[in-house]
Symmetry: C2
Subunit: 544 residues, 2 copies
């Protein structure tokens, strides 16, 4: 029997993991040493919240990401990013060291401990789909497989705790039997559903594919493209599902955000007589805060587990089988390619420059849309940065589009760069979020990651002011972000006009290592989606 | 009936809170507005982990600290500092906003949410002594009082969640009845215990007071001084209890860390025939990782709840009553003041300068010991910074001395500065910890806090290397910390020799705002306690 840790890293490698993210600490040191011996790469971040975000971004692209930290001070500092992975269906595995099992007794109080030895696992049980403490060499690998299966099939985080003295014990082989989440479901139900949906799609005059994050989580991107092409469907994506369908594809229309965001996407949904919804997670954000629900009567919903046609449900007809089958079919008579209005954004294509030449959010959007968008991995933080990101046509795009935490984008770029090294990360981040986790720029610099980091600086928690009113406590100190970046090893510059931004973006494109562009924005300037939200709010108040 | 929030802030003010720490976010905005209307001051930090640490430091000095954040992305990013407050007995109250109660239903998924509306409260239940969700205006204030009482009497964190639509509802008066934790306990048991302890103390030839963190948590610092003076006791403190007894006092000997640390403290414990232990939390760290347990047969242990004499226990004889009573007594015949060897530190008083003039940890300790130590609030982060801190004679000292998380000291200085504005915070922090939360320097600068921040830069997770061996993944990038500080609004300088450090400390003492001193240390140089630990480890290996 081989040592537990050695077998664990072999299992992770089989599952497609070629790099973990973490911060070493005493209870996890033997595991780090074993990882090193196993030839597994690791990226050490500066702070545990960043570890979770980096592993999450990696998981979104590769199907599994690993965050490895020490007990207590390490693991418990990662609850927020793991909660986000739960909310947004990202398959992140947390591996934590822990105090030795041998010699534990009720009165013993070791450092890094909270209430008892099980406190940390219980905390993670609230934000994961499966947890295990590997305190038995006979069952440890079976437990690893149980947690891994839950993470990989449910696309949500799991938690494994390894007491320090268990790291290298000889561990019995796994006896885990997969519980049969094979993505195929019930073949008879699938055949029946397929017949009905094929007929409905064939009859529909204006069918639309509404692609959600489930498409990417189940790695169905290629099948979704074939489906759209076979049936000549225009494609709208959900907020969280942005770029689950490649946005450089001619069928792509835009992101649907209810009454805000892309007018073209809204019109496509509005005018559709059949909406084929795949892998969309319903949330308040998804429909522009409930401003535009899609009626059941014209919607087919294909999910991880079931397929729903209008009001009747086919159980155990999950998306992998259904999307693959539909992609292999097509209408009896070939259809012309859909007419797609590509002016997909809420932003004006050519924004009016401000008289004083100052940079506006519209100007930022126009400038970023001029870069070769399909070549980047875009990562947007929340707030205005997210609203800018939603205006782009990206083939890879990540944001905390449902959980809406701040601080994801800069550390997320680490995960994106490691998972898809051929793509240059392009981070869009507000000053508030950058103050939280922007120091991870140093890790990007250490790894020599070529990345563009566009910091939108309005010296404010802008979203909060819009939701409320100007308050002293929404004001952010004007840090010298360019100097900060330089102190961390990243080159950069400050821009105040659209022309300067264009020139900076061109310089960033060929820069070695991370390149920080601090774009100075008027705190009173609004992103296009923000303008729409304000109008809706004002209209609602006037009506009330 | 007044609005809930208004009554809540009135209760907090009664409990001695004059400032909260937090970051606003949508679900907590009405509570922030109510706080503003109530005239309660708040300090907005840059990142939630810092919020928790700042509130903790404030709580340690004032007896109650408040951390106020939004739901999910805010609250769940604060689990680690709250876990530390639990482990180290710090009375921190977490107040979190939450989604509206009205309109909640099982299928609704709002942003910032994890499994269900109760997930966050359940997470905090694992790291607090009491939690409440204020979803009922009839019981809300009673619940507030229940949680507050638990926090204040048990000196551990509590959690209150306020749904957004409950913030300003008229709330019924509290019907909470205090459960009688009055610190007095059972008067008959107290009288009996007092008689026995008085006789034992009178007979003892070499009694010692061993003061723990409970002395400070129960605000018994003045009584402890009277007790030591009345009975002519030399005073040794525990690791976590450092500076619970003023270290500028002539009776103070040093911090007891088992076989490492202060030789004088070890000898005082060793030679004592009676150790009067007050409020010491037992942990692996406290006795130098078990290197030097104090025998029961010569120990009286006075705790929050009971008093233990050798092997017999007086139940409900808590420290407040016992210490106060003992301080009012004294031996029949007056005793001379104890002979205290003041060379209390493990460090040599006059370190040997290095031939190349480079700065050593011994040199740092000697230089800091030359400042007027009793005038500062010292905050040490963990690792070498902590080992330096343990060598000082401080009247106010804070560190994660049991939970051992990184990142406490810089944000902790915010709490210390607000709680005791007359004292200048003096932060000692390693580069690893500074990379986690050092950006809070910006908040110190914004508030105009005059503080000295001494950053020990050895470009390494030094502790881990000592515990293990040199590894590539323990290496930290050499950031330009002085430039970083300047970008955040803090002046500073880099020093490489002991003389430069002395000059910098003098400049810092009169600087306005935070002043960062980056002390460049050889990564192979060791703190004195670290040298001792290495020797012990080597001896143990040789013996094994």
């Amino acid at each position: 029997m081989k040592p537990l840790a050695q077998q664990l890293f072999a299992r992770l490698r089989e599952a497609g993991v070629d790099c973990t993210f973490g911060i070493p600490g005493d209870f996890v040191l033997p595991l780090y040493a074993a990882q090193s011996a196993a030839g597994m790469r690791t990226v050490v971040c500066t702070h545990e919240p960043s570890v979770g975000f980096a592993a999450d971004a990696y998981a979104r692209l590769k199907g599994l990401g690993v965050a490895m930290t020490t007990f207590g001070a390490g693991g418990l500092n990662m609850v927020n990013p793991v909660a986000m992975a739960y909310a947004e269906h990202s398959p992140v595995l947390v591996i934590s060291g822990a105090p030795e099992v041998g010699g534990r007794h009720a009165d013993l109080r070791v450092h890094h401990m909270v209430k008892d030895f099980d406190s940390q696992r219980k905390v993670f049980a609230e934000v994961t789909v499966a947890t295990a403490t590997l305190d038995n060499p006979g069952t440890a690998l079976t437990e690893v497989d149980r947690v891994l299966e839950a993470v990989v099939t449910q696309k949500r985080p799991g938690y494994i705790e390894i007491p320090r003295d268990m790291t290298n014990v000889p561990a019995a082989p796994s006896t885990h039997r997969p519980t049969g989440h094979d993505g195929e479901g019930n073949p008879e139900a699938l055949a029946e559903a397929l017949r009905e949906i094929r007929a409905l799609l064939s009859q529909a005059k204006h069918p639309v594919l509404y692609a959600g994050v489930g498409v990417r989580r189940n790695m169905l991107m290629a099948q979704a493209v074939r489906l759209a092409e076979a049936w000549s469907l225009p494609v709208v994506s959900s907020v969280l599902g942005k770029a689950s369908f490649p946005e450089s594809h001619p069928h792509y229309v835009g992101v649907f955000v209810g009454k805000v965001g892309s007018a073209a996407a809204r019109e496509a949904i509005e005018q559709a007589d059949l909406v084929l919804t795949v892998g969309v997670i319903n949330s308040d954000v998804n429909t522009g805060f409930g401003t535009f629900p899609i009626p059941h009567a014209k919607q087919i919903i294909i999910d991880e587990r079931d397929t729903l046609v209008f009001h009747h449900r086919y159980e155990h007809v999950p998306m992998t089988g259904m999307v693959t089958a539909l992609a292999g079919l097509g209408p009896d008579a070939p259809r012309p390619a859909p007419a797609v209005r590509k002016a997909s954004a809420a932003a004006p294509a050519a924004p009016v420059p401000r008289a004083d030449g100052a940079l506006t959010t519209d100007g930022v959007i126009a400038a970023v849309r001029e870069v070769e968008q399909s070549s980047y991995s875009f990562l947007s933080d929340i707030g205005d940065a997210w609203f800018v990101g939603l205006e782009l046509d990206a083939d890879v795009f990540m944001a905390a589009g449902y959980y809406a935490t701040m601080g994801f984008a800069v550390p997320g770029a680490l995960g994106a760069a490691v998972a898809e090294p051929a793509r240059r990360p392009f981070v869009i981040v507000g000053d508030g979020a950058f103050q939280m986790t922007g120091n991870e720029l140093a890790t990007l610099a250490r790894l020599g990651v070529d990345a563009t980091v566009l910091l939108l600086n309005n010296n404010n928690y802008k979203m909060l002011e819009v939701l409320d009113q100007p308050r002293e406590y929404y004001h952010l100190e004007p840090w010298d972000y360019v100097a900060l970046g330089q102190a961390l090893g990243a080159a950069g510059e400050r821009v105040t006009t659209a022309d300067e931004l264009r020139a900076a973006l061109a310089r960033a494109e060929t820069a070695k290592g991370p390149y920080l562009i601090e774009a100075m924005l008027d705190p009173h300037d609004d992103a296009p989606i923000m303008r729409q939200l304000k109008q809706l709010t004002a209209a609602a108040r006037a009506g009330a």
